[in-house]
Symmetry: C2
Subunit: 211 residues, 2 copies
DNA sequence: CTCCGTAACTTGACACTGTCAAGATACCGT
DNA sequence: ACGGTATCTTGACAGTGTCAAGTTACGGAG
């Protein structure tokens, strides 16, 4: 956010380092947060980045390309938010770490409501895109690691993962959809422990850890 | 003029009964299902209903109005799907009725994937609209009734409702978002009982330990 | 039966959007 | 110094939401 309406860069300089690409993604996220999904467009991203209206079409082939790049960036922020919370509880019990990860889940959604909704809106994206694939896989890995202590020896990890993921995602998503007011996070976060306690999660035979 | 391929109605008849309004909503749902949210527009609805491009603007003031009407209709279908499943298990135990209701939840999403995603996309709607309010409240009531047997005497009903709703919504929503292939329902439905069994739902006595 | 008010549209216009084709330009290697 | 190419810009077109103004036909008043 340098100058008045746009970023007044020398019209004569072309960048060979992919700066504009990430600038456009960042602009897209800004627009998303400020004006919602409806306000997001290739031309607005271009305007906010201070380039011509067709410039985004060069880096991302089309709208789907921009959406894919924004989602990929979203998953990076998503993973970072969960890791930040989890690292705070690094040496705690598995259940405390699970709670922390879920709090990170909520953190991200609350801080980037429109981006979160956009990522899970079912919008068409280039599912083959490697950057997107890596970022989303990484986010899922965090969940998987946090669930691992609760998976019994002969059980399928996916069942526990799906259970936890469904609960935290549903809880978060409903909170973001149902309340226009961002303040919902202030009530949603403290209620998390009360929700999770209803799950019958036990660490495997090794440590019959309580609570 | 109106001899277009769609609904060839007499150009000379104007309807005073609100037929066109519901026709436009139905057209919108059809477009949603066929071409996704991106393909949904006021002008396409008008074309599919065989009227001029600005006709929808008269009944729904703007896009938000159309979205609200479509969502309201969606909640009617939503409630109907849950009731259909629950009525099949009318005389069963509370847990069986809960499972049935959740199956109805999945039924609706699988049968109207794009509509379901649209309803929970966070799109701006006229939240004051009475029709929408009634329809969405009705759908929530079904969930509430199904959860009632599991609410202890001195407990807040919302906690159990939020628990169940979050789980089934998250499970369904993730299934719809993550898989483009509609076939996901064939695997999602049979896994429902395995998910629900992880919840510590008891009908009467307070028992902090798992069942 | 006529006539008129108004509900239910239609027509036309404007600003905005995505997307493509073609042009311009500055940096790089040679 | 020079040509090639990556990186944009300019221009155009079809499609969109939305508003203003026009048109028509039905219901009721007389």
């Amino acid at each position: 956010m340098t100058d008045s309406k746009t970023t007044p860069r020398n019209t004569t300089t072309r960048r060979r380092d992919g700066t504009l690409r990430s600038c456009l993604v960042e602009a897209g996220i800004t627009i998303l947060q400020k004006k919602g999904t409806d306000g997001l467009s290739l031309r607005e991203c271009a305007a906010l980045a201070g380039v011509s209206h067709a410039a985004p079409g060069y880096h991302f082939k089309n709208l789907t390309g921009l959406y894919t790049a924004i989602s990929a960036r979203g998953y990076e922020l998503f993973a970072a938010a969960m890791e930040a919370r989890r690292n705070e509880a690094r040496d705690s019990a598995p259940k405390a770490r699970l709670l922390a990860t879920c709090e990170g889940y909520l953190d991200f959604a609350a801080e980037h409501r429109e981006l979160f909704l956009f990522m899970f809106s079912g919008q068409e994206i280039d599912s083959g895109n490697t950057h997107f694939e890596a970022a989303s896989t990484r986010a899922y890995e965090i969940l998987r690691e946090t669930c691992a202590p609760f998976v019994h020896a002969d059980a399928d990890p996916e069942e526990i993962e799906l259970l936890v993921w469904s609960l935290i995602h549903g809880y978060t998503h409903l909170a973001m959809v149902n309340k226009k007011r961002q303040g919902s996070i202030s009530t949603a976060l403290p209620m998390l422990p009360d929700l999770l306690k209803h799950l019958d999660l036990n660490t495997q035979n090794k440590d019959p850890n309580q609570a």
